[in-house]
């Protein structure tokens, strides 16, 4: 934990994105999380993803609930509006914000307590509405701020710091999202930036609800032997199924991909993601087979990661409700008010 303010120094040779900004321009306040916290790695990956996508900082909205994970929006892109809401209610605030202004890119950062216990209802219904947002769950299986209680994502048999084993079935955000019809579902690990950054870029670009469930170990309360959300356990049982590369709009696919292994998919904004199948049997366009695969690997004690499901065809919230493309918050009052003559006319029905 540090109270030192971060000096803003950019090396002249630092790479710049299409807006001419460096990654330093996407940083935030100094993290107050524990040293070695997985969440800080996720924050770094988010900074990298947003920088590489060249999102204008003020066109990003950072949303969160309550918990260690929900503090992190303060630690990236300080030139974006942040909304640290109440516990488990980030999805509703984001839904309303998105309803008012569809032009912004929304990233919601949540945790397993925030999304799978107190906020599971809002998590579920944001998926159902297909709110256009990137929904990150920093998943560590434990309540950090209240000192180490199991969360709803703790695996059966996983041990708490003082030795007690969890005996309740975990809620898996990825398979839950799959069952609910989420249109972009990814899982990754805070310690695998190479995999994580493109997954976040795809999620930020995807039109619709994009879930990125990230195993992000809690170094203080859940990184011991016997925990299934520790660094060591995650590294040991980590299983890549589909990795992806993100190709910005109007850029050619230059990297060499072996035939059959790579599958380019065009996103709505004109960018492309190239999927690299690690397991050739995996079909990310089928909810049924994806579910079966995830379940089988889970039963074998493995953590399946990568892009798990993608559907670019489904309409998102605004399209589903037939909304005008101009952000509602920017519509001039004149066009919203029917005027006195219309009021007179209307009232004939009430006589």
């Amino acid at each position: 934990m540090s109270y030192i303010s971060k000096p803003k120094v950019a090396h002249p040779g630092m790479p710049k994105n299409k807006l001419g900004l460096t990654s330093r321009d996407y940083e935030g306040a100094v993290s107050t999380l524990c040293a070695g916290c997985g969440h800080d790695s996720v924050t770094a990956a988010i900074i990298q993803a947003v920088f590489e996508l060249g999102i204008e900082p003020h066109m990003l909205a950072k949303m969160s609930g309550i918990g260690c994970s929900s503090k992190t929006p303060a630690y990236f892109v300080s030139q974006s509006h942040g909304f640290n809401s109440v516990h488990g209610r980030m999805p509703s605030v984001t839904t309303g914000a998105n309803a008012a202004n569809c032009d912004l890119t929304y990233i919601g950062v949540s945790g397993d307590g925030d999304s799978l216990s107190i906020g599971v209802g809002q998590f579920v219904h944001a998926i159902r509405r297909n709110v256009n947002m990137c929904y990150v769950i920093e998943n560590n299986g434990v309540y950090g701020l209240t000192k180490g209680q199991f969360s709803a994502s703790a695996d059966v048999g996983s041990k708490a710091k003082k030795g007690a084993a969890n005996n309740q079935e975990p809620i898996d955000p990825a398979s839950t999202a799959l069952a609910l019809g989420a249109t972009y579902i990814a899982r990754s690990f805070s310690g695998d930036k190479e995999q994580l950054v493109p997954l976040l870029m795809g999620a930020l670009t995807h039109r619709g609800f994009a879930l990125v469930d990230i195993v992000s170990p809690c170094v203080t309360f859940n990184d011991h032997e016997g925990s299934t959300k520790s660094y060591a356990h995650t590294r040991q049982f980590y299983h890549h199924v589909i990795d992806m590369d993100y190709i910005p709009p109007a850029e050619e696919i230059k990297a060499a991909y072996a035939e059959g292994d790579a599958m380019p998919i065009e996103m709505h904004d004109g960018s492309t993601i190239v999927l690299r199948k690690v397991d050739k049997d995996y079909d990310l366009s089928s909810r049924a087979s994806a579910f079966k695969y995830l379940r089988e690997r889970f039963n074998a004690g493995e953590i399946t990661t990568g892009l798990l499901y993608l559907d670019e065809s489904r309409a998102e919230m605004h399209e589903l409700s037939g909304n005008i493309e101009t952000p509602l918050s920017q519509l001039p009052f004149d066009g919203l008010n029917p005027g006195n003559a219309e009021l007179k006319k209307l009232q004939r029905r009430y006589r």
Partner: protein, 600 residues
């Protein structure tokens, strides 16, 4: 005793049998004759099969509240026959379906019982079970029309308008009207002593319920995002908003909507959506009722502390807990005033009738955006769901929405530093920026302790500075909210204070007391925090009757708490049985108090 245009007709039916349109037809016919009316619907929390009543008060004097008497009972529900008969005033009338015999035990000597074989008439003249049930309702309208002298051509005109697109229904409905009216004319001395005579007192009025008016008000106020979870008695507010939007807010070029209505998964989500949308610059609102306020409370406190405009319509129903969802009360005054944990208090507005529901909507949005805080409009089931005769609505074309202190891109560009919670103007209201406008406007919205510059803090002085500044804002709010409606009589020792739907009953009670040479001054409060005029009114009097519709005297408590009103002067007159308050209650209670020696 012959009376004119002063009669109460109550119709007892079974819910789900389509009697609502028949009752509406009867009331509107009287209204169209130029005679003021009051309609009250007493319905069960049920879809089909339970008793339901509709009460039409014909009031040539143009009063707005219900009456506590029934002159003519149309007892169409055998289940409630005994109860319905008992309610009729001595000298009154009871109409029943004489197709089947009724128990002689239920007779009363002091009323006139009129049997009309509605079922038999309809079975003979209409085919199909559904049509027969529906037409039975229309037939009693015909019978009541004949008994009261309501003009058939007025009814015909109304039916022609209603069924303009379905001509065959006009004829069948008129046939049913004639079945009832012909039978009454043949068998009884029509019209009876209590009759309806044409007047010219309704030409500048409409009949509308408060939820429709509030929904329309939200359209006119420029609201674009509505989120709600269905709850009686507020649901029809969002239905109205959505229907008016479908009419007025579809872009003619693209066919796309210039509004977004979201049915939330619960009230916690509904208020979260409103806060998110308002934070992002849209005028946004949620309609709800008491249980919804309980669920929203955490977020309401957030919006208070993070200073985000939030508009809530609370159409109050009878509590506590589930209470009686289809009955009325003013029982959420305290839970709204202080909703949420910690030190919070919220601006409340109290419309008295549907007309004020319409005009209160833009005021609520203006105040909420100007003050950057939740504003709750406290309506109730009586206002929200009943049909009221109110003056025709007018829209002031010069209205410009007050969006409050929102910095635009140019203003932000010129600033060296933007601090979200700095009281620049000394009125306790800081400046805000909207996302997506300018990188310099960025700030971190949080419900955790923050400094006046917007940074996180656990420092006592920094924390206190902000919550103290919110009190400055509270006093600014006090000067901005609508002032009370104060009326003086010729005496100045005792007064009545009420809010919201208590207005109609109190106004009428003042007339009736005045006729007995009891003069009371009147103060109808329109908002919380209370304007200075409210405190002055209390100070001027020796005794002030506080008339409200809850058990615990919540308004009285709030007066004592907010402006330190002298509690020894404040005498509660409480009506909380779930029925709308009536003037008789107020008159009786005031007289009781006077008899006890409370009045000066």
């Amino acid at each position: 005793m012959a009376t004119e245009n002063d009669v109460v007709i109550k119709i007892g039916t079974v819910n789900g049998t389509g009697s609502a349109s028949a009752n509406g037809l009867l009331m509107k016919s009287i209204f169209r004759m130029g005679v003021p009316v009051v309609g009250k619907n007493y319905f069960p929390s049920n879809i089909q099969g339970l008793p339901t009543w509709y009460e039409i008060r014909v009031t040539g004097d143009g009063y707005q509240s219900r009456s506590n008497r029934v002159d003519i009972m149309v007892a169409m529900n055998a289940q409630t026959y005994a109860q319905d008969m008992a309610e009729v005033v001595p000298g009154g009338w009871l109409i029943y379906d004489s197709t089947w015999p009724r128990s002689q035990l239920l007779n009363r000597d002091d009323i006139t019982v009129l049997g009309i074989p509605f079922s038999k008439l309809c079975n003979e003249n209409f085919a199909g079970a559904r049509a027969r049930i529906l037409m039975k309702n229309i037939a009693y309208v015909g019978a009541v029309a004949a008994l009261l002298g309501i003009q058939l051509d007025v009814i015909t005109a109304l039916l022609e308008e209603t069924f303009a697109a379905k001509a065959h229904l006009i004829e069948s409905n008129m046939q049913a009207i004639r079945l009832g009216s012909d039978y009454a004319n043949e068998h009884f001395d029509c019209p009876i002593a209590t009759s309806v005579k044409p007047m010219d007192s309704t030409s500048k009025s409409i009949i509308m319920d408060g939820n429709t008016a509030a929904g329309l008000g939200c359209v006119y106020a420029g609201a674009t995002v509505g989120a709600w979870y269905p709850i009686t008695p507020s649901t029809s507010l969002m239905d109205a908003f959505r229907n008016f939007c479908a009419r007025y807010r579809v872009d003619p070029e693209s066919g796309k909507n210039k509004y977004c209505v979201i049915q939330a998964e619960d009230e916690l989500a509904a208020i979260g959506m409103v806060i998110g949308a308002s934070w992002n610059g849209a005028r946004s609102f949620t309609p709800t009722s008491g249980p919804g306020i309980s669920l929203m409370s955490e977020f309401i406190g957030y919006a208070y502390y993070a200073e985000i405009p939030t508009v809530i319509f609370n159409v109050q129903r009878t509590g506590p807990s589930t209470g009686m969802p289809t009955r009325t009360q003013q029982c959420d005054i305290l839970s709204c005033a202080y909703a949420s944990h910690g030190d919070t208090k919220h601006v409340l507005l109290f419309p008295a009738n549907p007309e004020e529901c319409f005009y209160t909507a833009p005021i609520a949005f203006d105040l909420s955006e100007r003050l950057q805080t939740p504003v709750m409009v406290l309506s109730d089931l009586d206002i929200g769901m009943n049909d009221w005769m109110v003056p025709e609505l007018e829209w002031d074309e010069n209205y410009v929405p007050d969006r409050g202190k929102v910095l635009n891109a140019e203003q932000l560009e010129e600033m060296d530093n933007f601090y979200r919670y700095l009281d620049v103007d000394g009125d306790g209201i800081p400046y805000r920026s909207l996302p997506g406008v300018h990188p310099r406007g960025a700030y971190f919205t949080r419900g955790s302790g923050h400094t006046k510059l917007g940074a996180y803090t656990e420092n006592s002085a920094e924390y206190q500075e902000v919550v103290d500044r919110l009190l400055v804002k509270w006093e600014t709010a006090r000067s901005m909210v609508p002032k009370p409606d104060i009326r003086y009589s010729k005496f100045n020792k005792a007064g009545i204070i009420t809010i919201g739907s208590g207005d109609g009953a109190c106004t009428e009670a003042l007339d009736r007391l005045s006729a007995q040479d009891i003069g009371l001054n009147y103060c109808r409060i329109k908002a919380f925090p209370f304007s200075d005029e409210v405190g002055e009114f209390i100070q001027q009097h020796d005794v002030v009757y506080v008339v409200e519709q809850n058990r615990d005297g919540q308004l009285r408590t709030l007066l004592i708490n907010d402006i330190e009103a002298d509690q020894t002067k404040l005498v509660s007159l409480l009506h909380y049985n779930g029925m709308p308050i009536n003037s008789g209650f107020v008159v009786d209670k005031v007289l009781e108090e006077i008899a006890k020696g409370r009045a000066a």
